[in-house]
Amino acid sequence: MKRLLPIFLSIVVLAAVHSLRAETDAEVEARKTALDLAGAFANDGFKTRDGHWCGTVKPHDHALVAVNLYAGNQYWFSVGASEPSTKITVSVYDETGKQVPTETHNAGEKAAAGFSPANSGQYFVSIDLIEGREGSFCLIYSYK
């Protein structure tokens, strides 16, 4: 039994290391998915910001990210998720927490919401996991 213990511990450590690596890989994958989606808006003259935010979202829950936008610009918020998250949606709320009407694009593990703010100020982008299990997502945005 004593001989088996180090082997067992090695397996646990390897599994832990693997899961940490997998999490990083998942964020990279989610970012790639988000960038692919944002690329479609670039064809329409939208500039993609170099900054991004990666996080995790649980089933039937949402992650909320604050952004500061300018009236006059048009924005698209693109989100990519990685397995085991399979279906996400994106929605936008104003500074009082009221949902803002947006154009939406939903395609399983990628989703986007676009709008032109009437007022400059703070808005909140909500990433909701509709189907699948807890996983990583990455949010980027484009403007013109």
Binding site: K47, T48, R49, D50, G51, H52, W53, G55, A63, L64, V65, A66, V67, N68, L69, Y70, A71, G72, N73, S91, Y93, D94, E95, G97, K98, Q99, P101, T104, A118, N119, S120, G121, Q122, F124, S126, L139, I140, Y141, Y143, K144
Partner: protein, 270 residues
């Protein structure tokens, strides 16, 4: 009958899509409070501000240039604040499509960044800025400037200078706001003036400055900038839908101009 059933089904799907699109939810204040607020996505770049200003009409960007600034600062906080301001100047030169100005500012950015000891890979960014300016690739230059800013920030993080990151953003926002308020004063338009409403952004920068180390926060320049941000927050807090009048724009321009003078001054920071 089958055709009618199909049509009804298609109609129903249409109704569901419309209903989802029209749905208006409300998030409670405690959830908004817990939202992620990060330098990398919650603080807009000067390019976004300048893009919004351009919408109602042409802006005379070159009238917003400023004279050469000293490159011999020793105080790291002051270098970081000025670096942010210089990057904003780079975006102005790109908006003005001024090849030589972009090259000059690109060189200054690299010189200041080197003074902070940030990574050598930035040198290649300087070359790229020159190349893109030479070939009039203005959209690519905007991306390159933003990438340069992010590279400076991540290099600061890896050199345990993460406290300086927010100062780069603050410097960029102050210089951007000085330029935009100056341009609006010259050619007042309500739609343009609406871009100046950013109370939450100023609060976010203040809170990030309050999180930096007590030593850095205690430096005279950082203390001054932090105090001035309190007053500036009031000057950018208009009710939604209301544009500031020209007098309010002038007050904001004076306030950010005063902070820029302190940031540029060779005498204030030790």
């Amino acid at each position: 009958m089958i055709r009618l059933t199909r049509l009804s089904a298609i109609g129903l799907i249409g109704v569901i899509c419309t209903a989802v699109g029209a749905e208006t939810g409300q998030l409670p204040a405690d959830q908004l409070e817990k939202a992620v607020r990060s330098d990398s996505i919650s603080i807009p770049t000067p390019a976004e501000l300048f893009a919004a200003l351009e919408k109602p009409g042409k802006t005379n960007w070159s009238s917003q240039y400023r004279g050469p600034m000293p490159m011999t600062y020793r105080n790291r906080a002051q270098i970081a604040l000025n670096l942010g301001g210089l990057i904003a100047d780079g975006f102005i030169a790109v908006e003005a499509k001024d090849r030589q100005q972009v090259k000059n500012i690109g060189s200054d950015i690299i010189r200041l960044a080197k003074a902070l000891g940030v990574s050598e890979s930035l040198l290649s960014r300087g070359n790229s800025i020159n190349d893109f300016a030479e070939h009039n690739e203005w959209d690519t230059l905007n991306e390159e400037l933003e990438a340069t800013q992010n590279e400076v920030k991540s290099s600061m993080q890896s050199h345990s200078d993460q406290d300086l990151v927010i100062l780069v953003s603050v410097g960029g926002w102050i210089r951007g706001t000085q330029v935009v308020s100056g341009a609006i004063m010259k050619n007042y338009d309500e739609r343009s003036a609406k871009v100046l409403r950013q109370p939450a952004l100023v609060r976010l920068m203040q809170s990030k400055v309050n999180e930096i180390s007590p030593e850095l926060r205690g430096e005279p320049l950082v203390k001054d900038v932090s105090q001035e941000l309190n007053g500036i927050e009031k000057l950018v807090s208009f009710p939604p839908g209301k544009a500031p009048n020209i007098e309010e724009v002038r007050k904001l321009n004076e306030a950010v101009g005063k902070v820029m003078e302190k940031i540029e001054s060779k005498t204030i920071a030790r």
